[in-house]
Amino acid sequence: MRLRLWSYFLRQALMNIMNNRLVHVIGLGTMFVAILIFGTFLFLLINLNTWVQGWGHSLSMSVYLEDGISEGKRDMIASWIKSLPTAEIDRFITKEGALKELRRVLGAQAGLLEGLSTNPLPASLEVVFEKGEGLRLDPDRIKKELEKMEGVEEVQYSEDWLKRFKGLMSLIRVGGLIIGGLLCMGILFIVTNTIKLTIYSRKEEIEILKLVGATDWFVKTPFLLEGAIQGILSGILALLILYSGYYLLSTEKIHFTSLGVFDFIFLPYEYALLIFLASVALGLVGSLIAVGRFFDI
């Protein structure tokens, strides 16, 4: 009996969709476009975030060691650095190596180094941070920790670049939140209102159903199912189109002037699922609210 009723409701919902094609196509289209816009936004935000974090790779740190440091101490410092989750020792530069490097940099002017009696340059460890994760660590804190260690003379890293980088990251985060929030609210508003309009065009139907003795749920359920079907369809459709877009982008690699090749990633699995569920919920809840408006008989 329950089953019979549900199959009746489902048939009803499908028939209603057929009978109100224009209205449903418009409703579906609106939901689909809204979700697609939101999905695209999320996709771009996530990729932007990943790229910018990838640039964090270029953050490197020079740990200058005191002259005459023992091998043991040096190894201790090195292993402490290695114990940091994302840090990696790129290379160890000896005092001689440093001088050679300076000579190379000075080029034609290297002659001025000829007069040196002792090597004034310190040995150093060059530390790089793993791609994408560079910013999970606080370089400032690492610097302080290292400078407290015995045998470390000075720690340097490019604070300027880091500053910009952090600024960009927080810009992305805040900007993303603002646009994302606005987009969310806008989409909620538009979709629920579109549903309201689609149901408004059928308010006579609701009135008549009530007049022949239908319970509220008998009237509402087909509308809710229609909403859910719309949500499911538009969610799937939007994700499909989004994935196609992603596929195009990632095969036809896009070359930006002097930025090299961007590697796109698709929305993480959970995000895609979330979008889908949100879209179904939107259809359901939107219909529920909208259909409630027209119950005055």
Binding site: M1, R4, L5, Y8, N16, N19, N20, E204, E205, E207, I208, L209, K210, L211, V212, G213, A214, T215, D216, F218, I297
Partner: protein, 257 residues
């Protein structure tokens, strides 16, 4: 002819749900005057205003179980309003309405839904769903009760045959003539074997022959024990029926015979 089939078809009182079935079980298809429940419709000092307009004033009326009552009166007298009040589609400004001893002023939404499943209403403006076929429109009245599909189909076919519309089952209301639409509305009202049948101008769009058929149909339904209230302006058509007639004028009962 088809109308003879009604004899077998209509067995009101069968399968009554819940509260309604309790007090209202028909006693061998007849009403008994001494029974409190026998007063199916009771209206006490009923007033209905629409803003400044007074559509009904001080209506007092009792309709017994199994009665056949005509409500007539000029255009705008309040016939439709009266039927809508009895149906619970409109709330009175003051006064009481008791249907089967249930006070409509205090009825819950869900009980009203249940009540409406046992009350057939032929609306003056038909109120058909344009996006559903004739068959679906009529079946709807049974679908809402959660009946079995085969039963619904059987009853719907029967009912449509009774109003002579069997061959228009798959048509949509907007493609029907005025009289055809009216008959769909009648079919929908009678398909559920109502305890009470309220018909608002049910023959306004029908030719004399069909009108006679419909009146015969109503008589048959009435003979099975259904209480019937028909609002109509065409007094003369029903005059020979010798039934109780209430004449409304400007919202008041002016003649009751």
């Amino acid at each position: 002819m088809n109308l003879l089939a009604a004899k077998k078809t209509y067995s009101p009182g069968s399968g009554l749900p819940n509260a309604l079935s309790k007090g209202s079980t028909l006693r061998n298809g007849l009403w008994t005057n001494d029974n409190l429940w026998a007063k199916v419709i009771q209206l006490f000092h009923l007033f209905k205003n629409f803003g400044p307009n007074v559509a009904l004033r001080d209506i007092d009326l009792r309709v017994l179980k199994g009665e056949f009552v005509f409500v007539t009166g000029p255009s705008g007298a309040g016939k439709t309003t009266l039927l809508r009040l009895i149906f619970g589609a409109e709330r009175p400004t003051s006064g009481q309405i008791l249907i089967n001893a249930i006070n409509l002023n205090r009825i819950s939404r869900s009980s009203l839904d249940l009540l409406r499943r046992k009350v057939g209403f032929v609306f003056q403006d038909f109120k058909l769903l344009p996006k559903k076929t004739v068959f679906e429109n009529v079946a709807l009245a049974l679908e809402v009760t959660g009946e079995r599909g085969s039963f619904i189909r059987k009853k719907t076919h029967q009912s449509l045959r009774l109003v002579n519309l069997a061959e228009k089952e798959q048509a949509y209301p907007l493609s029907l003539s005025g009289g055809e639409q009216q008959r769909v509305a009648i079919a929908r009202a009678i398909v559920k074997d109502p305890l009470i049948l309220l018909a608002d101008e049910p023959t306004g769009n029908l030719d004399p022959d069909l009108t006679r058929d419909i009146i015969t149909l109503f008589r048959n339904i009435h003979m099975k024990g259904t209480t019937i209230v028909v609002a109509t302006h065409s007094r003369e058509r029903f005059e020979d029926s010798g039934q109780r007639t209430i004449v409304l004028k400007r919202g008041k009962i002016v003649v009751e015979k």
